[in-house]
Symmetry: D2
Subunit: 284 residues, 4 copies
């Protein structure tokens, strides 16, 4: 497999950034495999994703050291990763199995961009699903008044399993700001509605009552504000008056599962830069 | 052309309605061309659209008289129309031409289910568009404090032209409850967002700020509550972070125009029954 | 759970069928839950799906006996099934796991309309997938010149497990006419292209070479003519020039899996009547 | 309005192209507004679209002269255009009005990327449509045995009106190789099917007979091989068994019109590079 380094870059927009950054790699004889950029003219910010081939003679350490010099000079905020990094994913669940199944299946098929290594539930129901795929399942119920204790236990498990990304796969708990701060921009939630429509509870019921003609799902980064985090991916399906709230829930499951899996894959493939309440998602 | 009568029926759900209603037509040797029904189990209401072929020997008057007997017996609320009815459409506009063009084009091609016979604007800009299609255009600007007078003038024009359906094709005025009451369930509005998301003004700007990954449009019956009327049709398109608010407006135009035209066609083809805040839309 | 009988009916189109058939159920005080009909005016055929509630006092046997009288009188071809029937599904596979996973997952969640009870592969690779879901897996490799023997073994397994529906989930073998005749209208195949485009082998490679802007998948009943059977369901996704043949294969997997699962569900819910090379699929 | 130069570039793929090309503009203090590239690893070709802001001090002539030096050095094939170029479009039609209407409407609204300046029909029917928009209409019927004469007349009109792009908007004639050679890569056709399915005549009828569940349309560059040219854009809509061939034609019109308009816009915005039988279409 070709070794590949991926830089996600953000800086104030100005002339010459593309020439200077690509010039840096060219002068080191590094082949640029993909380069996508975006200039947000509305707030004058420049975003770039650049993937370069790491030749035999270049070490990650050297590359990072030299790039940090360029970054300092050009005042770039950036992160760097490699296509051979292991990315560990934890999935948090309650009782609904569909998103968990989809993530496990893609993890198993090698099409998720990382591996699910840990499943945590606040109910015991989905242990059997995790077990089918030989994944450790920890059941950590939430007792009234002891919510923080449970969160602490979750955080310890995440740390122990060196988790890179936390996926809330229909996890029916609101996380504390402290929890979210422990994994900044690394918690992805699925909301079962086309946000910002039907924020909060019972979206399928409310969609039915409002008589919408399409339903949707939204994957977004979790932030302190419930359902207000930066959106990564959305999709919809057409419905008719014949679909009752239970039908919407069933139809919605297939939307939720594919929206969440796509969002997780985009994140793990390092295609996303967060920009305030918005995300820049560089397509293939 | 085959003469066709279309009944839209609504009643309390119970056993035998389908057999009794279709039996009525069968006993009169009338051929059922299409029959669609829907039982809303959540509020126990039955809806039906039934289209029957009017043979040579049956007059509309006889049919209506006899059916009214059945309707009384079964306590049906219903309306009846015919495929050779002329349906007159008025389009109300402000400055945006795209929806008006689409309605005029389909009217001209005979694919709207009725004819646009009147265009009313509160600004002069779109007179040229109406003129291209040889449609009368009335410019009725709204002066501060004289809003009701203008509405009266509009209502008189609608009456004079025997208008069956009023289409608000990006008409940037809020209609008074009196106006709406004059055309109950016969005013269709296009909102340039996927309702209930982004109700109110500047939806494309707000969609951009929120960072959604799809934008949409919604055609609905106008009611006293702005953007709260029963939804007829919705559609969406995928966008990316690269699309700025102006791009969204441009992309949105194509969504608005097709959503509005489809909704108008459904109405004119007598495919819609309103049920509270929801619509039953019988597909072909 | 409400007991429900579902009739799929086909006959020459003529006046009064709807009235007579619904009258039959009404006179027996049986509640019609759903009724969908379709008149194919091009070849004068009438199709109906009617679902009725079986009251306490009506046995399946009585109902079937009485209905057969009506069917004889009206010359109806029909089949009848019940919502409490157990429907057994066998899945035939080769090496690709994605469709198998999706079918097993939906079977497990109770959203398939039946149960996967048997998995047969001509290669050993997918045994582990079946094992995760505790399903029997039979590996029956095909040896050159002994193809019929293998088919015989498959047929025996299908019989032994009382299989109602055979699903070819990327099974890379062509079945003999004898095999197909043993399960008429009960074998569903997934083709990884938008038929009739790219019939035959290597559709993703050929789609890439042709430069199409969308790829698709097609679920159809298997017939003697490869990829020519009646189509049940299709779907597509947008692609770009950046997607190479491997990307198409990866993207295609998600389309294949959802198209196949939907088709299987439609069949098991008794929503399909085959009409020559076409299918009548009654939506909900 | 900001003056903008757009280069479409094609060359053998190799290291450093991005750095060298962007370096060229940077060294001249020209701001890069958009830059999209694509490396086709399967045939080792590099494609780029780069848009740069032309400052006050740079003339088009100087820029072109200097860039030609770079292009020679790097062996780039390229074209250059400007956002203030006038692009003249001719539309060729027969009897169907829907695509013509859509092109005229977008031309009028300023959302086509160019202006329709000429409509040519081989039948008289659509003269009224052109007249609505004050466009010259030339009716050039095709007489048996005098096909080449008619083509010559068309070519003369195209030349006279300085046409940049010829759009075949349901023009029911096959063009000669000589005609196509006169406008290489500048003739766009709409085919009313999802190519390569249903090449040739009567695609809606054949789609109905085959029982497909979606219909589509395809815009492509015209080449000597009918319906075989490089595809620019495709789209589809879901249909059901209830849609007969006439319904498909009506539904199809809305797909054809939007697919053709999008393809024309992409071409006029200089977003397309042809690569053999495929197109590279750089999105926004």
């Amino acid at each position: 497999m070709m070794r590949e380094a991926i830089f996600l870059i953000r800086t104030a927009d100005r002339k010459g950034l593309l020439a200077q950054i690509t010039g840096f790699f060219y002068s080191r004889q590094l082949n640029v495999l993909e380069c996508r950029q975006y200039s947000d003219m509305l707030d004058n910010t420049y975003f770039m994703r650049i993937a370069v081939e790491l030749g035999e003679s270049t070490t990650k350490r050297e590359l990072e050291k030299e790039f940090s010099g360029l970054a300092e000079k050009l005042e770039l905020k950036y992160s760097v990763g490699y296509n051979d990094d292991e990315r560990n994913v934890a999935v948090l669940v309650t009782r609904e199995s569909h998103c968990l199944y989809d993530l496990l299946m893609h993890s198993e098929e090698g099409t998720l961009g990382g591996k699910v290594v840990l499943v945590i539930g606040n109910h015991p129901e989905l242990e059997t699903v995790a077990a089918r795929f030989n994944k450790p399942y920890f059941c950590l119920p939430v007792e009234k008044g002891r919510e923080r204790e449970q969160e602490q236990q979750v955080l310890e498990l995440l740390k122990l399993h060196r988790i890179d990304l936390v996926v809330l796969a229909r996890y029916m708990r609101i996380l504390s700001p402290e929890f979210i701060a422990a994994y900044p921009d690394r918690i992805i939630n699925i909301h079962h509605a086309f946000l910002p429509a039907f924020q909060g509870g019972n979206p399928y019921r409310r969609a039915w009552e409002r008589g919408v003609k399409m339903i949707g799902a939204t994957a977004h980064y979790a932030t302190g504000d419930l359902d207000e985090g930066p959106i990564i991916e959305q999709d919809v399906e057409r419905i008719t008056h014949e679909d009752d709230p239970d039908d919407l829930r069933d139809l919605g499951r297939d939307i939720e599962r594919r929206v969440l899996t796509r969002a997780v894959r985009c994140h793990l493939e390092r295609r996303i830069i967060i920009s305030g309440r918005r995300t820049v998602v560089f397509g293939k």
